[in-house]
């Protein structure tokens, strides 16, 4: 009822997002996948998003959905069965475009023993798949998409959101992690088939606990490769990380200092992997040695 009328105010890490929809199939999915998320009532929301169902004049029998943020539509409409994917992409877009008080890295981020590990990577590098596996093997999810660094304090904010597995990764994770809570598969999106993983409850419930980064792995998945970790120079890591950030240039000197601080604090590597168990074991050993 709330979702349909004034909207649900969902806490997503440092942000409150008001989600509103009258589209019932989406509401059912949201109540299932968002059940562990904290809701707020009287707090201000940074983002106001909405999914509306509509019919086109050309094909009035076919329903489509449209994402709105503050009443504006940044995308074309999508087939109705893609509503959840569109909502999640829309929220990501809003964060990527609007958040400029934090350094915003395009990275999967997990934490263990109070140390953050960053996996900066471009789409298709396997960061969501690896991240999903790690958080079901003792690591805490910060994000599969955004590294949110506070430049003043040097800490990362968790923002555990639904994680969109794509194509063959869906079955891989279903095979490896039967305990994972995964939403229904959404075929034929512009990224292929997508299915959303719900973060473990402990990651969602400890989303206010920040931590500093200790390791940076520039990630690449290669089907035939054995786990390969190579250290890289700080200067190369700096340039890779700066070019990976969504808002490095917008932040100016603040962004430069934040990236420099991060590189100084972290050990930086290139990581090529294919075997989830192997790479997880390697990372666990590394964390435990500290």
């Amino acid at each position: 009822m709330l979702l349909r009328n004034q909207g649900l105010k969902v806490v997503m890490g440092p942000f409150n997002v008001r989600i509103q929809t009258r589209y019932k199939p989406l509401a059912v999915q949201l109540y299932s996948l968002y059940k562990h998320y904290r809701l707020v009532q009287d707090e201000i929301c940074e983002f106001h998003v909405c999914i509306v169902a509509e019919r086109s004049f050309k094909n009035p029998l076919k329903k489509s959905v449209r994402f709105l943020i503050d009443g504006q539509s940044p995308f074309e409409s999508f087939p109705e069965e893609q509503a959840l994917a569109v909502l999640e992409w829309g929220i990501n877009l809003a964060i990527a475009v609007r958040v400029n008080h934090l350094l915003l890295l395009h990275a999967a981020v997990v934490e263990k023993n109070n140390h953050v590990i960053l996996f900066p990577a471009w789409p298709g590098s396997g960061k969501t798949t690896l991240c999903t596996y790690l958080i079901h093997r003792g690591f805490r999810l910060f994000s599969d998409e955004f590294g949110l660094m506070d430049p003043a304090r040097g800490v990362f904010y968790p923002m555990p959101r639904l994680m969109p597995l794509k194509n063959q990764s869906i079955q891989i994770i279903r095979n490896y992690l039967p305990e994972a809570v995964i939403g229904q598969s959404i075929p034929n999106t512009h990224k292929g088939t997508v299915a959303h993983v719900c973060p473990p409850e402990n990651s969602i419930c400890s989303a206010e606990r920040t931590a500093k980064a200790r390791w940076i792995f520039f990630l690449r998945w290669n089907e035939k490769a054995e786990t390969n970790i190579q250290p890289i120079s700080d200067a190369e890591a700096f340039m890779l990380l700066a070019s990976n950030a969504f808002n490095y240039e917008v932040l100016g000197a603040t962004g430069f200092k934040a990236v420099a601080q991060l590189i100084s604090d972290c050990n930086c590597y290139k990581l090529i992997y294919s075997d989830l168990e192997d790479v997880t074991s390697t990372l666990q050993n590394m964390v435990n040695e500290v």
Binding site: D234, A235, F256, K257
Partner: protein, 91 residues
């Protein structure tokens, strides 16, 4: 012709063991420079200098012969740094 630095003291420079990242507030750009370029910028921030003077200073600092090849390379670096707005020709 003499070269001079361009707002050298406004640059943010991080030393990563002989490789440098340099933030230039005027352009908002970050540059990746080697030790010789940084020494050159630093030298020009003290006083404007000609290609010959710069080549002499750097050849001594890096223990290299200040022959024509060396001077040609330094000239290339100068024009590159000029294009980035890190140095300029003295008027």
């Amino acid at each position: 012709m003499r070269w001079q630095s361009n707002h050298f003291h406004s640059l943010l420079i991080e030393d990563w063991g002989g490789e440098y990242t340099v933030y230039q507030p005027d352009s908002g750009k970050t540059h990746f420079l080697n030790q010789m370029s940084i020494r050159l910028l630093s030298f020009l921030s003290q006083n404007p200098a000609t290609l010959l003077e710069i080549s002499h200073y750097l050849s001594t600092a890096f223990e290299q012969e200040a022959d024509q090849d060396f001077r040609d390379n330094i000239e290339k670096i100068l024009y590159h740094l000029d294009a980035l707005g890190l140095i300029k020709k003295e008027k």
